[in-house]
Symmetry: D4
Subunit: 170 residues, 8 copies
């Protein structure tokens, strides 16, 4: 089994958020790897790691970081593969504004596909969508997943019918 998605985070303290990406990839049965490597503390390791990713079979990166979140951009600088960035609202993180802007506002030539603050689960879904552009089996799994979202909200709507007010009509 060769990993297609590489989940990477700047610190193991980001794992409670980032494992949501792992979980959804697991649900989609897409093989993945997880590593903690810091753009600032292990720059040479990150460089090696990103440069060799394509040959290892990796097709998408999911990189999460908080504060002055450089990891997603540094990975994006080192590989032609698409990089999904997850801004993480860590402590001392100015409510996440710093991580959002450090990931989103990349310069021309080096895009990072940014998702919502702490949006690791959505990052996992986006990775599946990206792989689905070249893999019909994965595309179909995403399609089914989207249908399941619809069913959940329709079921939830029924709960609301149990709430009673004198002038409520449904």
């Amino acid at each position: 089994m060769v990993a297609k998605v590489s989940i990477i985070m700047g610190s193991t303290s980001d794992m409670p958020i980032m494992e949501q990406a792992a979980q959804i990839l697991n649900d989609f049965k897409i093989p993945f790897e997880i590593n903690a490597l810091s753009a600032h503390r292990t720059p040479e390791k990150v460089m090696e790691f990103a440069s060799e990713a394509y040959d290892r079979g990796i097709r998408v990166f999911i990189a999460g970081a908080g504060g002055a979140a450089h990891l997603p951009g540094v990975i994006a600088a080192l590989t032609p593969l698409p990089v999904i960035g997850v801004p993480i609202n860590s402590s001392n993180s100015l409510d996440g504004w710093d991580s959002i802007l450090s990931i989103l506002q990349m310069p021309a030539g080096i895009p990072v596909a940014t998702v919502a603050i702490d949006g690791a689960r959505n990052a996992g879904i986006l990775a599946a969508q990206i792989l689905g552009t070249g893999d019909e089996e994965i595309f179909n799994k995403v399609k089914e997943f989207k249908l399941s979202l619809k069913e959940k909200i329709l079921k939830a709507n029924k709960e609301l019918s149990e709430i009673k007010f004198e002038y409520k009509t449904n």
Copy 2:
């Protein structure tokens, strides 16, 4: 020639930004289509348009919008294909904060791959990277493109050597 990327914008006034996505896709020789369809003014049209995209051959969307920018999210709700969102700093747009947040902060299950404010060129590059995960020819074009970025900055560095100060050593 079948379009693989669908560029869509909420208003033709966004074209000066969004044509930068078209230009880079053209440079990569990736066929694309361009449309102006508003999530708010032509909702039924958008629905039809997004639902049929896969069968038309589309594999990636690039959607740009300003203000309360709903277009990328509405497209993402209607297709399992990946959607790249371009926040546009239109007039009355609160410096673009409204379009950034309206595109970035999508709920669980419906990611939009957001790029920087007015980052349509990067959106085009990201679309190529996404297609490259399943198409080696495109992957190699992105790889070459990244190398060309390096050369440009090394050339630019030489310009700086012409600037003279008495205590400048290079």
Copy 3:
């Protein structure tokens, strides 16, 4: 009893806020309906729901959502009826700035009547005021309600007279 106001929310987790709109409409004896339908998870359902609202007797919408809050705008795109938007400060919601801007900054032609963050109660009052423009009975109820606000604050002021400081003169 035919509902005149349609309360709609993107997720049942918004109910603790949105039921405040229901409560005040109930107090005003204005019939209403409540539904959870997501602009992103059930787009076709939302389209059908909004398009048929006028014929069902609905005259005002109250739509609440958090994050990249598209629901109020999507409803507004689908009906000529007035739509009141309630930005909700959900978790991961950047203190509500994202929901405020996603609802407030609608493009020309598609207004949403936005109220304060988590302001569902005020949304209910505004719905009554809107109906009151064509219904004198409702108008008079709003008038009475406004008088009751005055009495509450005058009564509260008396509490302050019980607080003693040596140099306090009232």
Copy 4:
């Protein structure tokens, strides 16, 4: 001809924005009045003006102001009629954040229906929608107006087809 909508602004310097509300009401053939009265410079006048509005035939207020924009809220405090607030991005106005928050964040009991920064045209449309809840003729005009928005964007889309790129397919 009795005015149904009262347009009010804090300063005549707000007229270039606020006349967009007048224009659209004129297009809808809804009679309206325009006044400049300041919550801070003519408080007694504002009080008299708002209190007597209903008896004069007014059914909706549109109030615009910049900076610490108190006018919409002060009107809302003085009448049971619905008040639409237009935040204006005047000079020294911190990009409009001050006027948005001063109008939007009204306390419980006193809603103001806030529209986008400088959104006077949308305020006029919202006023028509509000009157339309009790007046079928106005409702139908709004309905037609919404259809015309759709046509404009579909026509605009055709303009895009004239733009040529080698790899553009439509």
Copy 5:
């Protein structure tokens, strides 16, 4: 004993903050009154109250409010006396940004002397400083108070000397 300072707040829920203004005025032995009157719920009462203040002996107002905080500005509109505004970080108050901007950004001609968020104690000191411009006894009390601040911090510095590190030299 005639009150010289009038403390006013929009809601009795602001009392835990506003009583800090009362406490410091009490310490300075400056007579004051406290009232809860809402710019939005009791506008006529506020008007009467502010207009007659000078004749009642009042020389300075301290007005506190949260959210779209209109009370200080409305008082300032109604009296030539100086008004000190206290932005209050109430619940649903966007961390206080709304109250700060609604009080600070007053239009030309109607200043409000704004203090820090929840800065009621400083508002009381500022009231004393203002009265001190025409009353030497109060001026001297403020002078003594400022000296006492210095002593407190010098005493606090001594606490730090008890903290031991091997390489700490004081």
Copy 6:
């Protein structure tokens, strides 16, 4: 003629804003002095200047500064007199947010009476109001000034009556 108000600014580049304070004091016939002294470049001078102010006859300070605007707070630390702070939106000043927060958010014990961004004219009026608490002549001038504001807006309202729309009723 002894100055009662001391206008101070951090740099002569702030004079175009700060002279508006001078102008209104001149209109009120209140003697004043103007100085440029920097909290950062001439700290000893500022210290001497502020400490001796009371004995020189000064009763109110108006201090303007941009960026990390320390001047008003430093003056407030050195004198028991009231200090009015004017945040100035200088170049490189982050739209004035830095100067607002550096002046407004003073610690307990050291208030600065902050006015709106670039609000030097209002600072002059506030200085007059403060002096008016102990000087009936000045109080009456402020009272007259406030009446003149009312007349200006009533006159401006008449201009609006000249604007014609078919459905405008006044």
Copy 7:
């Protein structure tokens, strides 16, 4: 043992943050002093303290403060030594935005080397780096310290290998 670094804070309540600077200096065996002196409450003391620092042996200042944080800038105004500023997120501190901007946005001529919100530990490391420019022993300690960061993250990465998912490949 003569202190080379002077740690100073505006209030002893900042000690839980600022002692992190002390701890890392202690680890580096760099002698330091700690004092609480307020720019606003003890301005003369601060002036004396900063002016004499060089002669006492001090080579770097680390100054922490919250709110309208003037202390680092005031020290920087009084000494030619480098000053490191630590913005502190104290209560009533607007999430630290006020302290960041009050320290960062210093005027031309008076830099303060600003670190992240509550970043006292980094301030200590930066002080060591600064001293290291003229002291090879300290430079080597910083070098070793940086290597230890690398080892920690590599060790942390191993923890992640223990987390099991069916489709996880490492």
Copy 8:
């Protein structure tokens, strides 16, 4: 002549700001080098460049960048030397908030000494101050420079004495 300060920027378009650092270093007669190297476009080059800096004689880095400004942090990750970061307000840069936060909010262990937006001149002064901790000649130049600031502002103050108002006393 061996460079002691290395000025580095992400793009030659940053040169109009960054040359202000060069100018002041030139004035201080401190040898320096200037290079444009992008953290994202030439990561390997940056790595080599930063790792060898100490041996080349460099003692301080000044790194400027806009948007998601990773360059200063990437340099700081690669060298034990102190790095001064200059946030640059480039086009599409969200008024510089993105570059400020991307540079300031560095994680524990990797400080960047951040100066004000576009504050390259201050970065040059700070570099001199840092070198001055181990070099008395440079220290004395900074000391003189600080005195010259004082003289400039005192001279500027004289200009203000030429401005005449009837009630101006100095």
